[in-house]
Amino acid sequence: MAVPNAVGESVLAGGGERKRKRGSEPPLAKWRTEGEQRIYSSRLIEALRRVCQSSDSAPSASSSDHVRSCAVREAADRVLAVSARGRTRWSRAILSGRTLKHRVRPKARRPKPVSTACVARAAAQRRKPPALEKKTRVLGRLVPGCRKLSLPSLLEEASDYITALEMQVRAMSAIAEAFSAAGSASLPPTHANPMRTL
């Protein structure tokens, strides 16, 4: 997809954002590398184990799949934010206030009437059409921590977030596939062992 030219990539990979003032492309190249995905996968597996342990230690409440899946999802997002190294707003928002997304979100939906006022003003100014304004708000809600952000920075955050999400999906699907493959392979012999030893 987004592959800068050879020279640019080498420079960008080496110097980060040396030459580009916006720096939107080099961080995205980072999300596509194999090493980054491997790092993320390993961290994710650790987090998953911890989630399993915690859920198993308190079997009564957390044994439900939904709770565990939420915990898994949060762990995955947190690991993703850690992998972002805090350079982006959404990663910092995830790390700082992960609970906010789940609990405060209903309250965040209230200021819709406010947005209409803003919309009217925007329409009057004709700086940005109201449709764009609405969509900007929606996108700001989707990307964590980017609610009250201007469109250019929001777009930049969104691009980084999209690449990070893509990497997350790739890593998680690989892990899930490996788990399922390993599970299907190891289940028959493992069942036999306890019978023998016991």
């Binding site: 640019g8 399993c52 899946s69 777009l155 691009s159 999906v169 899930a176 788990f179 306890p194």
Partner: protein, 514 residues
């Protein structure tokens, strides 16, 4: 050669002394390429004779004026330019018109693709019509592409490209040329000439240097340029300017590194100045020249084009003070902001699949929102899948090499009663042992239970792992379990012996410690 024919018809009138050198150069250089260009040459000659006469004259006038200013350098550049013009467009048309743009498009950077496709499809139609006009942009484009590798030169080439695209035949702007001459970013190859010479000369010179690599790029540029030339021929100056701007942005984006800085500098300078002052920066000069030219030729179409240029999502990065529009800080800043937005939109367009055909900020935003939502839904689905898979599977199945092998049997199978675990592990691992998930490890435990000494010997390992687990609940405990699993499996295959097991555990511990 018909090349000589049409070149001679156009250039001979303009440049007296050129044809001889030109024809000789043309013969030498363009001969091998003309096999494919025969049809093109005919079309070009017909068009050239009809249209380019005045252009050539203007070119000639401009070149004379410029050369008068620069002196020998210009003259040499002109001569080489003419010769290069032959080789340029002949090499450009060495392949069918459609092919050169495509590989160029593929070779271009991704951000350019949105716009890179623009000259491509448009090329075939105007392909064989305005050769001489397009020759200049080829060089500019080729020079621009070439300069990708070289930092500063890229910006200069971009500027040249812009200049070239904007002034095909409008080189009678002595003041603009002067501005170009005065302001230059510093292309090492061309020195001062490209600035002053406006379009064709610069491009020719760069062409002379980078002919080989320029061929595909120049063809692509040339094709695009033909289109712009056609538009120009039809006196749609604004459109051609927009195309030129597109190509400039394309070329600029193609650089990768330089254009953003140059564009940003351009933006800043645009904001700072009224676009009337000459800043050291070719983009500014280009802007200046374009502005002057626009004012010179048609103000209205250009204004219209400028007015509608920012609206469509395919905006141009290049900020320019458009004639007839407010040049105060507000509108300039607004334009900068709009172009920033459009730039990021284009980047996102490459990111989100299936957004190449979408135009319009609102639709693009919709697509982005949908894509983000779909990605988040995928993550949720996968997390649910993992959550259901986790307790069933032993996480140790997936061993990442860099994980440290430590820990104890946290993931033990529930089949085994905790007493065995407690017997095996003298330390207080019971709360962790009880959630038994792994199967092999339980066997390991049973093995450990039988020889009490084993447990004592293994205790340090587990103690170590226990300490670490208490420290931070890291994965080490699981790692040891995975190791134990592997060990146990291996031991199952071979006759199990506590000694071997212990050795393996020691070996594993060796792995743990570093």
């Amino acid at each position: 050669m018909e090349n000589d024919a049409f070149w001679g018809s156009n250039w001979h009138s303009a440049m007296g002394k050129r044809p001889p050198s030109m024809s000789s150069a043309a013969d030498g250089q363009s001969l091998p390429c003309f096999v494919n260009d025969a049809d093109l040459e005919t079309a070009l000659s017909s068009l050239v004779s009809s249209q380019s006469s005045h252009l050539a004259a203007s070119y000639g006038a401009e070149m004379r004026a410029v050369s008068g200013r620069l002196g020998t350098i210009c003259n040499s550049g002109e001569i080489s330019l003419v010769s290069q013009l032959h080789s340029a467009h002949s090499s450009c048309y060495s392949t069918p018109l459609n092919s050169p743009p495509k590989p160029n498009l593929s070779a271009r950077d991704h951000p350019v693709q949105g716009r890179g496709g623009f000259p491509g499809p448009a090329n075939p139609s105007p392909g064989g019509q305005l050769m001489p006009l397009s020759a200049d942009p080829w060089f500019a484009e080729g020079a621009a592409r070439l300069s990708r590798g070289g930092g500063m030169s890229s910006s200069s080439f971009a500027g040249q490209l812009g200049i070239l695209l904007e002034t095909p035949g409008k080189l009678s702007r002595a003041s603009s040329s002067k501005s170009l001459a005065g302001s230059r970013i510093g292309a090492p190859e061309n020195g001062n000439e490209p600035r002053v010479l406006g379009t064709a000369l610069m491009e020719m010179e760069t062409r002379s240097r980078f002919r080989g690599s320029l061929t595909p790029e120049a063809s692509e540029l040339g094709n695009g340029r033909e289109e712009s030339s056609i538009e120009e021929a039809s006196s749609l100056r604004g459109t051609s300017d927009s195309n030129a701007r597109k190509r400039k942005a394309v070329a600029g984006k193609g650089k990768g590194k330089e254009p953003p800085s140059t564009y940003s500098t351009t933006n800043m300078t645009e904001e700072n100045s009224d676009a009337k002052r000459y800043k050291p920066g070719e983009i500014n000069a280009v802007v200046k020249m374009e502005t002057e030219q626009n004012g010179d030729v048609d103000g209205e179409p250009r204004k219209e084009d400028d007015n509608k240029a920012p609206e469509p999502p395919k905006d141009y990065i290049h900020v320019r003070a458009r004639r007839g529009q407010a040049t105060d800080a507000h509108s300039l800043a607004e334009r900068v902001r709009r172009e920033k937005i459009s730039k990021r939109m284009k980047f996102l367009q490459d990111l989100v699949p299936g957004c190449n055909k979408v135009t319009g900020k609102a639709v693009m935003l919709d697509e982005i929102i949908n894509y983000v939502q779909s990605l988040q839904r995928q993550v949720e689905f996968l997390s649910m899948k993992l959550a259901t898979l986790n307790p069933q599977l032993d996480n140790m199945d997936i061993l990442i090499p860099k994980q440290m092998y430590q820990g104890h049997g946290t993931m033990l199978q529930p089949v085994y009663p905790p007493e065995m675990a407690s017997a095996a592990y003298p330390y207080s691992h019971q709360p962790q042992v009880s959630p038994l998930q792994g199967i092999e490890t339980s066997d390991l435990e049973s093995q450990f239970v039988n020889p009490p000494s084993r447990s004592v010997q293994l205790a340090p390992i587990y103690g170590f792992s226990d300490a670490t687990s208490q420290l931070g609940d890291f994965c080490e405990e699981d790692d040891l379990q995975s190791v134990a699993q592997i060990v146990f499996r291996h031991n199952q295959e071979t006759a199990f012996s506590s000694a071997s097991l212990h050795e393996q555990m020691q070996a594993n511990q060796m792995k743990i410690e570093p």
